[in-house]
């Protein structure tokens, strides 16, 4: 902080000189200039230290922020582009729009559909999802620069310099606002560039950016409520999920009585801008005004509390450990059970949603043979429904693998944070420590997959009136992804044991590679040996496909060998 501060002080001088009037009544001149200097000085200095904080925030986010903006823009623009290519005839657009409109669960997932133009379909497909993602980006950004800094004590250091009480809050919100403005601009430019109407593109971009702005303000308020960054993120994300669910309820009502729900949620407002189908600009003003009100409330909350304190008090926990808390495995369970519960609920929810969509998949896709081909290539089945469900199961397998990889890589974060040190200075062995985390990773992934199978089996079975048969069917299909999950987790264990310094980046890269090869390999017609690198290429294509034991046995053997290599590496290397 000293360097920018020093510079700010240097800059004050010329501005004071400029502020002095060049001529005038001599006797009053010095007083006037002095007074102006005093008025302009502190205010200008505060402005400059705030600028310094903003620059610091931007610098700390110079990788993450562009990555978010890039991914979000690409997802939106590529959706618009692919719709333009897939649905070239008016008839194909009419049929897909009719298919979407028939199913309440489709509408609940994407939001209301206001027409059958490419623009309207794009808004339905990606508008609400991208608005939620922009909200997530803003939440992470704001909490990172406010409560997380406060929790680690960095803000105390910054706060002791010449910055105002609300400087960190303001700089976090300002950076998030700027990011959302850039996002709006990029989405507008991208969609207009692929040939969608400019007005609608601007409306969609601004709607998504405004939604991000609202949740930046929500996160700013949440950061005042909770004393921990984790809690603040939790509160803000809960608000975001609630906003999405309220929007879903309103959209699924299809003009029924609950339609007003669309106006009760910031995500619903995004749909009510009706980009490409009316472009209702005043709704944008409503969103910005809502963001401003919440931001002012956050500032008021910040004035009402002390540094490091939250308005929601931390609940006290048990003064003694439960009898079971006596091994690395029970410790891992105790630390991670809350997070795992979230994954399981998510698995149930998305399993239910996808199972419900599956029953109407034929009419949903209409005559878009391109999409059908893509799905059958992925799912590998003749029956479109089975192919769709098999593709869903593979994606859910990848999601479960993401959970498993994150659980395994906790080993490394515990090691870097020196939490592993007191643990390994007790009777706990390194092997036991790593095994505990691996068991929890695989067990957790199995439970998440079971939840997906359960959710999809129940909802698909309810649709087809055949729960008894569909439930075990889809449960099995979901759990058939486990060997591939095991293999990816074992890669993470091997990396942790052998290349600890780069294992976090390498572990996620390995998962991303497995995902890309399994998801896009068939569509891109990559050579089979290259596709075979991904464990998910070897997963059985269930439901509908056949199961052969041989690839699964190989996957498990490879996983055991990799995990063993990792543990041997861990036993031989330094900790820390």
């Amino acid at each position: 902080m000293t360097a920018p501060e020093g510079r700010a002080a240097d800059w004050t001088e010329p501005s004071r000189q400029r502020a002095a009037p060049p001529t005038g009544l001599r006797s009053e001149e010095p007083k006037a200039s002095e007074r102006r200097g005093k008025e302009a000085g502190p205010a200008a200095r505060r402005r400059r230290t705030n600028t310094a904080l903003i620059r610091l925030a931007v610098r700390r986010d110079r990788i993450m922020l562009p990555a978010w903006l890039y991914v979000l823009t690409i997802v939106v623009v590529s959706t618009g582009y692919s719709f333009k290519r897939l649905y070239q005839t008016a008839a194909s657009r009419e049929s897909i729009a009719a298919g979407i409109g028939r199913s309440a669960s489709n509408l609940a997932l994407g939001g209301p559909l206001y027409g059958d133009s490419i623009g309207a379909l794009t808004v339905y497909k990606i508008g609400a999802g991208c608005a939620v993602a922009a909200g997530l980006m803003s939440i992470f950004l704001v909490v990172r620069h406010t409560r997380a800094d406060e929790e680690t004590g960095r803000l105390e250091l910054v706060g002791s310099t010449a910055v105002g009480r609300h400087a960190a809050l303001a700089s976090g919100v300002i950076v998030a606002a700027a990011a959302n403005c850039v996002l709006a601009l990029l989405i507008f430019a991208g969609l207009a560039a692929v040939g969608l109407p400019a007005g609608g593109s601007a409306a969609l971009g601004l709607a998504i950016g405004s939604c991000g702005l609202v949740f930046a303000a929500v996160a700013a308020a949440a950061a005042q409520l909770s004393a921990s960054a984790r809690g603040a993120r939790g509160i803000a994300i809960a608000a975001l999920v609630a906003a999405y669910l309220v929007m879903s309820g309103g959209a699924a009502a299809r003009g029924g009585g609950a339609r007003w729900l669309l106006w009760a949620s910031p995500v619903g407002w995004v749909t009510q801008v009706r980009a490409y189908t009316g472009d209702r600009w005043p709704v944008l003003a409503l969103m910005v005004a809502a963001a401003a009100v919440v931001a002012v409330a956050a500032a008021a909350l910040a004035s009402a509390r002390d540094l490091d304190a939250g308005l929601v008090p931390e609940r006290p926990g048990p003064p003694r450990a439960a009898r079971s808390l006596r091994s690395p495995l029970t410790l891992a369970w105790r630390v991670q059970r809350t997070g795992l519960a979230g994954w399981v609920v998510g698995g149930l929810f998305y399993g239910g949603v996808f199972g419900s969509i599956a029953s109407g998949i034929g009419s949903f896709l209409g005559s878009g043979t391109g999409v059908k081909n893509a799905i059958t290539r992925l799912g590998g089945q003749a029956s479109l429904t089975d192919a769709y469900l098999a593709a869903v199961m593979m994606i859910m397998g990848l999601v479960a693998a993401a959970y498993a990889v994150s659980a395994v890589l906790r080993l490394r974060s515990d090691e870097s944070a020196q939490r592993a040190e007191p643990l390994l200075a007790t009777g706990a062995s390194r092997t036991g420590w790593a095994a505990a985390q691996l068991i929890l990773a695989l067990g957790g992934a199995a439970v998440v997959l079971a939840a997906v199978g359960l959710g999809s089996g129940l909802s698909y079975g309810a649709r087809t009136g055949d729960v008894g048969a569909q439930l075990p069917h889809l449960l099995g299909a979901a759990l058939a992804q486990l060997p591939a999950v095991l293999a990816v987790s074992a890669v993470a264990v091997a990396l942790f044991g052998l290349l600890p310094r780069s294992c976090v980046a390498a572990g996620w890269t390995a998962l991303a590679l497995a995902a890309v090869l399994a998801l896009f390999g068939p569509t891109l017609r990559l050579a089979q040996p290259i596709q075979d690198i991904s464990p998910f290429t070897h997963s059985p294509k269930l439901p509908g496909g056949t199961v052969s034991a041989e690839p699964l046995v190989w996957l498990v053997l490879a996983a055991v060998a990799l995990a063993a290599a990792g543990v041997i590496g861990l036993r031989r290397r330094d900790i820390g």
């Binding site: 808390l325 006596r326 630390v335």
Partner: protein, 329 residues
């Protein structure tokens, strides 16, 4: 086996940085041993090697008669460790962590745990993310002190504690010592070391520079002397072991005149007396006092070297005055 810790010629490097360069450390069973050295001198690295968390590049280390690398988990059940910078699992309470670490060591004395929680004034129901640094340290300390172990490895355990808690800590270590437990105490707080430790090892840049009893170490440094004499003894400045000699004329009414010039040109008997200040190597004290006494002593103040002086000398890298025999006492 009379040595709880025996390390000899320990070497460890991280990349190009040399952390330990032939370190020697010997701790007898039942003693409280002070482990001192400037920041970055290798204290924590040594302790981590003793815990089998790091593998030494050279030298030997024995802990409780075993090999700290090969027999890590067996040995860990007989010791408790308090890290210098305690990081805990944020969503566990302090009480849960005390119990967990104790159980992983093989058992916790419930009565002792309760009395320590009270003594250190810890709220065990708080989530550890809400604890300050001092409170996190208390969690680790209580868990270690309440465990039934033979050896305590404490890495700057009081760095975050307030003076009241520090006093409680000293009482606890005193009890441990009387109970026959061995303690390796890495610390920067000299009064703490002086109060608790029989023997100390001072390291610098990964090497042991001094090891022995505090009394023995004091003997290796200089005593400062201020004396009013009737006359200046001839040849005082030439005596071996006399340093920083300062001679002032002493007029009797307290006003000192000009300072003495270069050694050897001292003005014998100028005025009613002289005030002499000097530093004397402790093993040459006898000879110097004899000389002073011969010149008739009017008053004499003799100060033993302070610990601060002792440590500053080693920390800043000065060679000890008469440090040729680096004898363990």
């Amino acid at each position: 086996m009379s040595e709880a810790i025996a390390a000899s010629g320990l070497r460890k490097h991280f990349g190009r940085t040399v952390a330990l360069d032939g370190l020697e450390l010997s701790v007898a069973v039942g003693e409280v041993h002070g482990f001192l050295g400037p920041n970055g001198s290798g204290k924590t690295t040594t302790i981590r090697i003793l815990l089998g968390l790091l593998r030494a590049d050279g030298g030997t280390a024995r802990l409780l008669g075993g090999d700290p690398w090969r027999q890590a988990t067996v040995l860990h059940r007989r010791l408790a460790y308090v890290p210098g910078d305690v990081t805990l699992w944020p969503n566990l309470t302090g009480g849960e962590i005390i119990d967990l670490l104790g159980r992983l060591r093989g058992g916790l004395n419930a009565k002792r745990r309760a009395s320590l929680v009270e003594r250190f004034d810890l709220d065990p129901t708080k989530k550890s993310r809400a604890y300050s640094r001092g409170n996190r340290q208390k969690v680790a300390l209580i868990s270690a002190l309440a465990s039934d172990v033979e050896l305590l490895l404490l890495d700057e355990p009081t760095a975050g504690l307030d003076p009241l808690m520090e006093a409680a800590f000293r009482d606890c270590i005193e009890e441990e010592r009387r109970g026959g437990r061995t303690v390796l105490l890495s610390s920067h707080i000299l009064s703490e070391v002086e109060a608790l430790c029989e023997r100390v090892t001072i390291i610098r840049a990964g090497r042991t520079v001094e090891s022995g009893t505090l009394a023995g170490l004091r003997h290796l440094t200089r005593t400062s002397i201020a004396a009013d004499l009737a006359a200046l003894p001839a040849g005082l400045a030439q005596l071996p072991g006399v340093h920083d000699l300062d001679v002032q004329d002493f007029t009797g009414n307290g006003a000192a005149a000009a300072t003495a010039g270069a050694p050897g040109t001292a003005r014998d008997g100028a005025g009613p007396g002289v005030r002499v200040r000097c530093q004397v190597d402790s093993d040459k004290l006898d000879e110097v006092l004899r000389q002073l006494a011969a010149a008739r002593v009017l008053s004499l103040v003799c100060q033993p070297p302070t610990l601060e002086e002792l440590f500053l000398r080693h920390y800043s890298g000065q060679v000890p005055a008469v440090g040729q025999p680096r004898v363990p006492a």
